[in-house]
């Protein structure tokens, strides 16, 4: 009998592409499929993005499974969970991998609950353990620790990969030519139980997409000083972010929070002023290519992650940085 397939689940994001992180999940899935002799499939819910077949091939998938249904056109947790549960019953995957975005949190653990699968979120790795079964590594305590979980005892597993778990790597030896299988589903009985009354409206560019981010934390001392962060961000052509305490204090809007329970960003440059570097904050910026930290405490944790460090009072340094950046 064939090993049960490894499935990477994705859906169309508004830009018409695959969900962010699909390539990372395919990379990891390919490794697990290779190690267990299983097939790798890309499962697409809703409209098939133009890039799906090409991406699946480039990352070595054997098939693209496509569930098309009017109920899946826009994100709808009830319909998505139902469609996925039907798919799992029909195809019995060993592992369904998701990339972890806010929407995934509404789907992945519910799918596990619906079909009796085991679930691990915040995954950073899935591998074959010593006993031959799968094991997942996930971050805990915001990243202060990592936990290795043995995945045994359930018929299938659902794992969501943290945004920064690994880098995508196309298949060695060139692209495969995956077949496209249309999977039927009956979602006529599903009605979304959560009714949206007022849609979220993101205004302007998103931190997740920013190339340069300047963030401020409690070290700014007071809400009036956050304007220094905004001015420096503007001078550098970037966006302004924040740590959680100053969001909780109401200095800035929660949409600017970077971290485990805020935005997961991956800019080329992340400049943190007056931020201590707690794991839960770093979870949202440690994938930055270059981190710069300004902190008055030379022993602050943030310097362990930083490429460049400035020890000093950020209220004195930020105005000088704004000046220097504008020159």
């Amino acid at each position: 009998m064939d090993a049960k397939p490894i499935v990477v689940c994705t859906w169309n994001e508004s830009q018409g592409g695959l969900t962010v992180g699909a390539e990372e999940a395919l990379t990891l899935g390919r490794g697990v499929a290779g190690a267990t002799g299983a097939k790798l499939r890309l499962l697409v819910l809703g409209p098939l993005p133009e890039a799906a077949m090409e991406t699946a091939g480039r990352f070595g998938a054997d098939a693209v499974d496509w569930i098309e249904d009017a109920a899946l056109e826009a994100f709808s947790p009830d319909a998505y969970v139902e469609a996925l549960a039907g798919y799992c019953q029909q195809e019995s995957p060993a592992l369904v991998l998701f990339n972890q975005a806010a929407d995934t949190r509404l789907v992945a653990p519910r799918l596990a609950g619906r079909v009796g699968a085991g679930v691990v979120m915040n995954g950073v790795d899935v591998s074959v353990g010593e006993g031959g079964g799968l094991q997942a590594t996930a971050s805990a305590y915001g990243g202060d620790t990592q936990m290795v979980y043995e995945l045994s005892g359930a018929p299938s597993y659902v794992v969501a990969l943290s945004a920064n778990a690994l880098l995508p790597e196309p298949a060695e030896g060139g692209p495969t030519e995956p077949e496209c299988r249309v999977i039927s589903s009956d979602l006529s009985g599903v009605q979304e139980r959560v009714r949206v009354i007022e849609q979220a409206r993101a205004e302007g560019p998103r931190l997740e997409d920013a190339d340069i981010i300047v963030s401020g934390g409690r070290g700014l001392g007071g809400p009036e000083n956050y304007k220094l962060i905004e001015q420096l961000a503007e001078a550098l052509g970037g966006l302004a972010g924040a740590s959680r305490p100053i969001v909780d204090e109401g200095w800035v809007d929660s949409s600017q929070q970077v971290g485990l329970t805020g935005k997961i960003t991956r800019p080329a440059l992340y400049l943190a002023a007056g931020i201590s570097g707690a794991s839960q904050h770093m979870a949202g910026c440690s994938a930055a290519k270059t981190i710069v930290a300004i902190n008055s405490d030379p022993d602050a944790a943030i310097f362990r992650y930083a490429r460049y460090g400035l020890v000093g009072d950020c209220l004195e340094i930020l105005p000088e940085l704004i000046r220097a950046a504008r020159q």
């Binding site: 653990p109 979120m121 909780d248 400035l310 940085l321 000046r323």
Partner: protein, 271 residues
């Protein structure tokens, strides 16, 4: 209406952070639990805010009975804290494993809710600050066939609805979204809800005398199948951070700033 708030005891995450920063976070002989006995144990912060959300509904005039329930080895302290804050009933579901499987915890919580007279609203934290999983509420909602709304910053009763309906403002990466859902439902609460209240001294004293109702798996007559772990923690470790920080030299703020900008331009990170 009946509101059940699921509360979990965790190690104080700030203390864990401090140990981690000092490089003194250690894993015990079992290879999977943190050993520092000096780290205080407390109610998961988001769960305290979930309870606060329930209390605010009551303050807003919603007639309700609020229960707090917890699965864990020794949950009396946080349950008494819940009572001091205003919970009417407290229930403990003992479980010894220091790193319990959250599928089992969710199965116990769902069975308790069903057997204790159901709930119109189940409130949870958005995630537990130890495992950060955020899956227990989803597993409960599936076990009970209820809808799930995550990351609430405000919960109120929708006006002029035929059946009890909640209007919930939820935090999303794209800003706030307002949704409505009919009861019963599972709702998770995020830190944007704001500061939870403190218990008054009188309520603390009264709560000290309250004993949680102890409910065993046998009492819930759960099939053994539901109590079988699905993900078993094998090992916990402290990942290393490779630091290579170059401290930018400079006597004055202006010198520091100029030196940094020069480096960032050299690295083509800024223009």
């Amino acid at each position: 209406m009946r509101i059940v708030v699921c509360v979990k005891e965790v190690l104080d995450p700030d203390a864990v952070n401090n140990y981690a920063l000092a490089g003194r976070l250690e894993i015990g002989e079992d290879g999977k639990s943190l050993t520092q006995t000096t780290i205080p144990r407390l109610m998961n912060g988001f769960d305290e805010q979930a309870l606060e959300a329930a209390l605010r509904l009551r303050d807003a005039g919603v007639e309700c009975r609020i229960g707090a329930v917890s699965v864990g080895p020794d949950t009396a302290t946080i349950l008494k804290h819940a009572a001091a804050l205003g919970a009417d009933e407290i229930a403990a579901l003992p479980m010894d494993d220091p790193t319990p499987d959250y599928h089992v915890a969710a199965a116990l919580l769902a069975a308790y809710i069903r057997s204790s007279g159901d709930a119109d609203l189940v409130l949870c934290g958005r995630q537990a600050s130890d495992d950060d999983q955020g899956v227990v509420p989803a597993l409960i909602c599936e076990a009970l066939g209820m809808p799930l709304v995550t990351n609430a910053r405000a919960i109120e009763l929708a006006p002029a609805a035929d059946e009890p309906t909640l209007r919930i403002t939820r935090v999303t990466p794209d800003g706030d979204e307002v949704v409505e859902v009919s009861c019963p439902a599972v709702v998770t609460v995020s830190n944007e809800l704001g500061e939870p209240r403190y218990p008054t001294a009188a309520k603390k004293i009264a709560a000290r005398r309250m004993k949680p109702e102890i409910i065993t798996p046998e009492g819930l007559s759960l099939p053994a199948e539901t109590l079988r772990p699905r993900v078993v923690a094998q090992r916990q470790f402290v990942p290393t951070v490779a630091g290579d920080c170059e401290f930018v030299p400079g006597e004055s703020p202006a010198e520091l700033a100029e030196a940094l900008v020069a480096r960032l331009r050299q690295d083509s990170l800024i223009q």
